[in-house]
Symmetry: C2
Amino acid sequence: MVNGSVMGTKTTREHIVEAADGLFYENGYEHTSFADIAQAVGISRGNFYYHFKTKDEILDAVIALRQTNTRGMLEEWEARGEDAAERIRCFIRILIANRAKIMAHGCPVGTLCAELTKLDHPAQADAGRIFTLFQAWLSRQFAALGRAGDADELAMHLLARSQGVATLANAFRDEAFVNREVELMCDWLNTCRADTPDEDLKTPEEKH
Amino acid sequence: MVNGSVMGTKTTREHIVEAADGLFYENGYEHTSFADIAQAVGISRGNFYYHFKTKDEILDAVIALRQTNTRGMLEEWEARGEDAAERIRCFIRILIANRAKIMAHGCPVGTLCAELTKLDHPAQADAGRIFTLFQAWLSRQFAALGRAGDADELAMHLLARSQGVATLANAFRDEAFVNREVELMCDWLNTCRADTPDEDLKTPEEKH
DNA sequence: ACTTCTATAGGACAAGCGTCCTAATATGTC
DNA sequence: GACATATTAGGACGCTTGTCCTATAGAAGT
């Protein structure tokens, strides 16, 4: 029977991937062992091997899960935020919502990409694609804001700022700093709209 | 005889620390083994143990080296840059100067802090102190720029932006992005001075 | 009831790790 | 030249790692 995780009962495989996701985030990929994950799930290492033959396979599954979760989150923001600026603000505010975890372990995406780079791991590109999801989504929002011309650049800029805040929040454990930077990003976002008010007012409808 | 590395001949210990510094940067702390470092220096693992009894000891030495190097770099900028704004621009431009290495391995400070966090390593605080060196130095520059009131915040802001650029430069390997963001930071720096021109013109001299 | 497939457990394995020990060699000092 | 110290080499150790194998228990299908 194939359980696609539709019901409340989760597959063992799903349990494994979720536990690995958390452990990779908190302790890093390399520093997390098969035994650690197995213990977290409450299964034996042998059973583990039945589901994943290789550590790389688990990593791939974790990255795929994060991609899926990210897509879901972006869709939710897309549905919730009434205008593009408010949607972008949803993105900015994850720094507030996930403040505690970010201060404790950094950004899940940024730290994973950095670690995989150092390991020269084949999954580098896949992990980087999570960044691309955010980048593309933000870019579309900025385009909807009337900044189609430099939407990609604006998206990268905002992504970079949020990454920098995550890194320093982790290093300094300074909550006030996070709040301040979030404010600054929101201020900056407002100036983005003001730059081209004419074109913005002409095409406020959805474009795809 | 105690060789304080004054002459051209370097101590074996210094060779080890420098090799470890490079390997920790390129491959990460945990992913670098005693054997790796010994091989890089060209000595036996036994000799290695004579100089460092523990992997943590090497890490401490590497962090101390980086602190020293950072202090030296900051002093050099202090001496070279004619005014505070130019000195801050020296900081911003390391993203350009170290572009290739940053795209390949990220920021040495940021990635080390992130890794030590995940390992829950005792040296976390020491590594974080390298960030503090930059922060304090930048803060003094902003104060000299006439922004004594919010110098700390401005310093953290700039530090965060450079960290974000380093992270994304590493993930996307996008050189144009780095150049663009450096430009933006320089632009932002110019607006900093303009904010309080009166006070700035009254006290342009050094304060310590 | 019997077989087949899925899932779980537990241990075996070689390799690599940090650590430590001992023997040999260089480098002085008297 | 004899001796003490500083430095190097090389291997042994116990442990953990990722990987793999085999045996057992349950569910499904006939």
